[in-house]
Symmetry: C2
Amino acid sequence: MLTLHNYFRSSTSTRLRAALNLKGLDYDYKAYALLKRETQTPEFLSKSPAGLVPVLELEDGTALSQSLAIIEYLEEEHPEPPLLPADAKGRARVRALSYMIACEVHPLNNLRVLQYLTSEFDADDQGKTAWFNHWVHATFAPLETLLAESPDTGTYCHGETPVLADCCLYAQMWNNKRFKVNTSAYPTIERIFTALDTLDAFRKAAPPTQPDAA
Amino acid sequence: MLTLHNYFRSSTSTRLRAALNLKGLDYDYKAYALLKRETQTPEFLSKSPAGLVPVLELEDGTALSQSLAIIEYLEEEHPEPPLLPADAKGRARVRALSYMIACEVHPLNNLRVLQYLTSEFDADDQGKTAWFNHWVHATFAPLETLLAESPDTGTYCHGETPVLADCCLYAQMWNNKRFKVNTSAYPTIERIFTALDTLDAFRKAAPPTQPDAA
């Protein structure tokens, strides 16, 4: 059995849960409260020196880290259903959409960054909300353009079955809700989120349905 | 002929140049001065709505964006020499090392983020340098642990030939130099950088050797 070390609210955890569910893979759910620094214990750091969730522990004890690296691993070891298209240009498109969220939005808006803004720059709640919104909009505007204008976009980010980019988009949209980001300027993104949110694999990955949700 | 739209100092550009050179692929070099907002023109935005470098334009006009998505594309279309190991766990390791830099360090330290810190939080040069250093050390400490303790680490990040993670590490080290980050606490990372810096593919990708370097 796989063991998923994660946190209900972490968006990298959410995207990995969606991928595991899409692949039909069962896992033991282990929760770590980030605010209580539960990933900073010697035991957790021995699995993941960066002290970050998610970590996927394989049956042989191998601890995989970095959500996108884990999903690529799942894609290679459990190819059905595919989370990347069959053609190289399609895969490049899906990965680029994914990395727009994973490399341009999420890293700027996670907990430890917001904490640093408070401690070092005296950012108040308003300043942090403005920061969060700024980086979402900086990427969601071009993301909307790419999704709205491409014939490759279907019900989901790339055609009629969910792909890696949908896992990232779904998780980011849940993150956006926490900071009350207004995404009405992005009708294609909102439409795709709504479609994903009807699917069991995504509903069961959503933060509020996890065992450690408050 | 491939066309590389990029900027000498951009570390995502540097990692892509290294990958192109390792694959032995020729490209037309097109430079964009980020400080002069040369990626914000309608022509460039039509290739890349996010207005970010690098973009790799294929012979058929397809514009690929996001450096890691482009390198994965190159790996699929030009598999030799490989930039990912042959086994799935090895690939997961190399991708995780790469994403530690690409998702945890680089996004926090690029130009537009530093500009935002100045405009919204009145960060001075000292504050920006502290910010830059903080995020490098937050990831380089666990990265050093992972590299120093794994039997998979060789002359380079994974064995005796450079991989995707080496492209990311090499580019980040050049970025670190600009902000005078002291990396002496990371002897494995420094050793790998020094080894990479003797290779033509990397030397020719380094910021100071590009046509647009000041």
